[in-house]
């Protein structure tokens, strides 16, 4: 997890898939990252990962809850079509802001 302070927001760049296998580590990293943030807007950047399981969703939702507690605005950026589809089908868009980012590589 990479924490990038940008001008108007803090970007949390996920470097590994949100799966049950690394969930505990990701959880700690996210908690740690969030503690250090005082920017009111947080972007969870998932553009570099392609897989997310149910535990991964729990992490995203947990992050959302924590942001709400701190009055942070959470946005999620996604590129992977499967994650996009998942978010779309679960209507996660009703709970948080999701942005589709096209990565040109």
């Amino acid at each position: 997890m990479q924490v990038i302070q940008e001008k108007e927001h803090t970007r949390l760049l996920a470097e590994e898939d949100f799966l049950v296998t690394n969930a505990n580590r990701l959880q700690l990293e996210l908690i740690e990252a969030l503690e250090a943030i005082d920017n009111p807007k947080v972007i969870l950047d998932l553009t570099e990962i392609t897989r997310m399981d149910s535990i991964g969703i729990k992490l995203v939702l947990g992050l959302l809850k924590s942001c709400e507690q701190k009055n942070f605005l959470l946005e999620v950026e996604v590129s992977s079509s499967s994650i996009l589809k998942l978010f779309h089908l679960c209507k996660l868009g009703q709970l948080l802001n999701i942005r589709e980012v096209v990565v040109n590589e």
Partner: protein, 890 residues
């Protein structure tokens, strides 16, 4: 989304809302009666019904409907929460509201123009505070916090219309996904492959933050539409069935989500859906679909024309099946195994036909439901106290019969309230409870449906009826004298007789019981009345199960065959060739038959239909042209030269007799002469082709048992087509009556049936009191508790022996063949045993009343050289019933 353009959706909404309203009404009446003690479930039911009308009318943008139902809902909410006791004062505005909603639904496109401010105002008075202007809007928004989008709603409605079912799925992320090593996407894609995903959401209201998120339970609820049954869907998405709930469209549009029965461990952590939570604040109870389905069997709407088509097809299949069976019967060595297959087809076809017929059946409860309101309103208007009790609501009748029953029943109930039930003071005076009771009961009996309307009111006074009949000049005094009280009571079915002393707007407009009777008879039913002065009245309607099949008599004229519905048929009279000159006369241009002292206009079916008349010569087996022109006195009308022997032969030949069907049309009767009489058949009525619709003589066409088509005769149509005049024959009749009264003695010819019990004693009784005569074998008699019975056409007929009630000799026992005389008054349930039928003669009743004086005996006379005892079957029957301790129920 609020488009009035999508008519089919709108029609669906109208139909459903009407159903809701018709169910609300009786519930409101219960609320009024039970007050604060009303079962909570009833209150909830009303609340839900109004709520869904409100919800759906909002969806369609029907402001008037929405506002009114919203205000009603607010009142109901107070009642539900126990803040308001449902009294008549509260119910009146609610019932008025129901009326208004009905009115709006009547013409949905103009519903916005209906004024409903008065209703709202009255409801607001109950609410105690005038609601703020923005109140309406506010509630609606809040009831739909993260509601479905218009697009979703359209999807839902469309899916439902295509016959898809709606389900809520509750997915536990841990149990159903992680434990099964599935990702949410796996599940969702499985779902998409079998159905339509409409909505899904994570319940995160109670979800913890990052630090606890991994072990917290999380559930995803999904709304989807699919054609799969619940168990199949559960299997397809690999979820336990308990986590799949079927829901109705209304519930979804209402944003009602099911409550999930969760295992204890998960219960604490799992959040309930937000909507559910808010509603529990209102103590909303049990709106789960489970509860719903426990109450009613699932139904779908089917177009009636589709059902009719199915019925036609089933008929067609039955015919093909018959051909198949015939083909097999003809084959000597049927192919191996084919026979069993054909047997199976036989069974399935019969069953299929039966079930398709059943699709047209509807419970009578659907019309009974409106009567509590009718009674309540009249009761208030008249200041009476009347309780309506109903039973047998689930008895089913053909839809079309049910529909045509609504008006007559309403009329009967109104009559009951208006005339039969006395005012509370009057009731107390005669020692009855101040509140009157009307019982409305439906039940099966002998393949027919009976509906009875009984009251504990004042009963019908036959003297008053008689007076009324005389005043209106409907019958003469001498006619009335000959009638039994029961017969006089039956006169209330005469057209133009209203017995109400004062005409009220509830009933008594002069059109009444005769219209009821006509309407009931139109659907092949029968109405009878039984009354006891001071005790009450029972009106019994006997109805066929289905309209489509009617019993008919098949008759022949000039080689053509026709069906005559039994409803129109009064009796069959055969006039022997030798009796034609004496019994048939000419009055004006019409021929009339002298039948039991009355003149019956006659017409030949062949003449009506313009057929070349033929008579059937049974010796040669051929049809010959019939040269008789006039009905009366055929002998003198021969224009063509005929040899004496031929004339003689023709006159005395069996086929020269007249077969006369006495048909009734309303109050009129006439005789239709036909050439041949065949069997009774149950026929299926098919509509007339437009090419022959102008022929008023036909009521339809049918396919008979042998596969040939026959026309169904319309008794009324024939009457108007032939322009038979009753005035002439009636004038003639009146003239004869005058002559009689001048004589001061009523020398009227009466047809008498002569029979024997013991071989040397002759008895007589009026033929008009006889329903029919049956032959039976001695060994068919069954004994039961000292009573004797005979089973005929699946009915038990009790046997009455004359020697039990009259001082006459008993019949000899060795005779094998016996006769049973069934009096009309016994309704085919009781018959008098006779050893021999002697004759039926027309005679002047000049009775000696001194020789035999027992009750049940009218008098005696010497007929054909024998002393003959004339009996009154009615009195005998009553004696018989008394001895059995039964009340005579005719």
């Amino acid at each position: 989304m609020s488009s009035l353009s999508d008519d089919s959706l709108l029609q669906e909404f109208v139909a459903e809302s009407r159903e809701h309203l018709s169910s609300i009404e009786p519930d409101l009446l219960i609320l009024e009666r039970e007050g604060a003690n009303t079962d909570q479930e009833i209150i909830n039911r009303v609340f839900r019904a109004i709520h869904s009308i409100k919800g759906a009318s909002g969806f369609f943008g029907l402001i008037a409907l929405k506002n009114l139902s919203h205000t009603m809902e607010s009142v109901l909410m107070l009642i539900r929460d126990g803040q308001l006791v449902p009294t008549a004062k509260v119910m009146d505005p609610l019932l008025e509201g129901v009326d208004k909603l009905n009115q709006m639904l009547e013409d949905i496109h103009s519903s916005e123009t209906v004024t409903y401010q008065d209703e709202i105002r009255r409801l607001e008075v109950i609410l105690g505070k005038p609601p703020k202007a923005d109140d309406l809007e506010a509630t609606d928004i809040s009831s739909n916090p993260q509601g479905l989008s218009a697009l979703d709603k359209t999807t839902i409605v469309n899916a439902t219309q295509q016959g898809q079912r709606l389900y809520y799925l509750n997915v536990s992320v841990d149990k159903d996904l992680t434990a099964k090593q599935r990702t949410p996407l796996d599940l969702l894609e499985q779902l998409i492959s079998v159905g339509l995903l409409i909505d899904s959401s994570f319940d995160i209201a109670m979800f913890p933050d990052l630090s606890n998120c991994l072990n917290a339970s999380l559930s995803l609820s999904i709304l989807c539409a699919t054609v799969l049954e619940k168990d199949l869907l559960a299997m397809a998405v690999d979820l336990p069935e308990t986590q799949v709930q079927e829901v109705t469209m209304e519930e979804v549009l209402d944003n009602k989500k099911p409550t999930w029965a969760m295992p204890e461990t998960e219960k604490q952590e799992l959040s309930k859906p937000i909507v559910q939570e808010r509603e529990s604040a209102h103590q909303e109870t049990k709106t789960t679909p489970v509860n719903h389905s426990a109450e009613a069997v699932e139904t779908i709407r089917v177009r009636v024309d589709l059902l009719n088509k199915l019925m036609d097809l089933a008929g067609e299949m039955v015919l093909s099946r018959n051909q198949l069976l015939r083909a097999f019967a003809q084959k000597e060595n049927p192919h191996n195994g084919l026979e069993t297959i054909s047997q199976k087809i036989n069974l399935v076809t019969s069953e299929l036909q039966e079930h398709i017929m059943q699709t047209r059946m509807q419970p009578v409860g659907s019309i009974f439901g409106k009567f509590p309101r009718v009674v309540r309103d009249i009761t208030k208007q008249l200041g009476k106290e009347i309780e309506l009790r109903t039973s047998g609501e689930d008895v089913e009748l053909d839809k079309s019969i049910l529909e045509s029953l609504s008006d007559p029943l309403t009329h009967l109930i109104r009559n009951c309230c208006d005339h039969a039930i006395e005012s509370p003071e009057e009731r107390k005076e005669v020692g009855k409870p101040s509140s009157g009771t009307i019982f409305l009961n439906a039940f099966h009996e002998g393949g027919q449906i009976n509906i009875s309307i009984s009251d504990d009111g004042r009963g019908i006074d036959h003297a008053r009826i008689a007076k009324k009949v005389l005043e209106n000049g409907l019958l003469s005094e001498s006619d009335l004298k000959k009638m039994s009280p029961q017969e006089v009571v039956n006169l209330i079915f005469l057209p133009g007789l209203s017995t109400a002393e004062k005409i009220s707007d509830i009933s008594g407009r002069g059109v009444g019981m005769d219209v009821v009777k006509t309407n009931i008879e139109k659907v092949g039913g029968h109405i009878s009345i039984k009354t006891q002065l001071g005790k009450g009245t029972t009106i019994l309607l006997r109805l066929p199960l289905t309209l489509a099949i009617i019993p008919s008599l098949i008759v022949g004229a000039c080689g053509h065959r026709f069906a005559v519905p039994q409803v129109n048929l009064v009796e069959l009279v055969c006039v022997k060739a030798r009796e034609i000159p004496t019994r048939i006369e000419k009055v004006g241009n019409a021929s009339v038959l002298r039948l039991r002292g009355k003149l019956l206009p006659l017409v030949r079916l062949a003449d009506v239909l313009g057929l070349e008349r033929v008579f059937f010569d049974s010796e040669s087996g051929q049809y010959h042209p019939d040269r008789r022109i006039e009905i009366a006195n055929p002998r003198f009308q021969e224009n063509t030269l005929v040899s004496d022997s031929e004339t003689l032969n023709q006159r005395t030949h069996y086929s020269s007799d007249y077969n006369i069907m006495v048909l009734k049309v309303g109050a009129n009767q006439y005789g239709l002469i036909v050439d041949e009489l065949f069997d009774m058949e149950e026929i299926v009525v098919k509509p007339l082709s437009s090419f022959i619709q102008h022929c008023k003589c036909y009521a339809g066409a049918t396919i008979m048992g042998d596969g040939q088509v026959a026309m169904i005769l319309d008794a009324g149509g024939i009457l108007s087509y032939t322009k038979l005049s009753f005035s002439e024959s009636q004038a003639e009749e009146n003239y004869k009556k005058q002559l009689n009264t001048l004589d001061q003695t009523t020398i009227e010819q009466q047809a008498m049936l002569l029979f024997k019990n013991a071989p040397d004693e002759t008895f007589g009784l009026p033929l008009s009191s006889v329903l029919r005569i049956e032959k039976f074998n001695r060994n068919e008699i069954e004994q039961l508790g000292g009573r004797e019975f005979l089973t005929y056409q699946n009915r038990s007929i009790e046997l009455l022996r004359l020697e039990r009630y009259l001082p006459v000799k008993s019949s000899l026992n060795e005779q094998k063949e016996w006769f049973l005389i069934l009096p009309k008054s016994a309704n085919g349930r009781m018959g008098i045993i006779a050893s021999q039928i002697v004759d039926s003669i027309d005679m002047q009743l000049d009775l000696d009343t001194t020789v035999v004086t027992n009750p049940g005996v009218i008098g005696s006379s010497v007929v054909q050289g024998h002393l003959t005892v004339f009996i009154n079957p009615q009195t005998l029957l009553e004696k018989h019933y008394e001895s059995r301790g039964l009340v005579h129920a005719s």
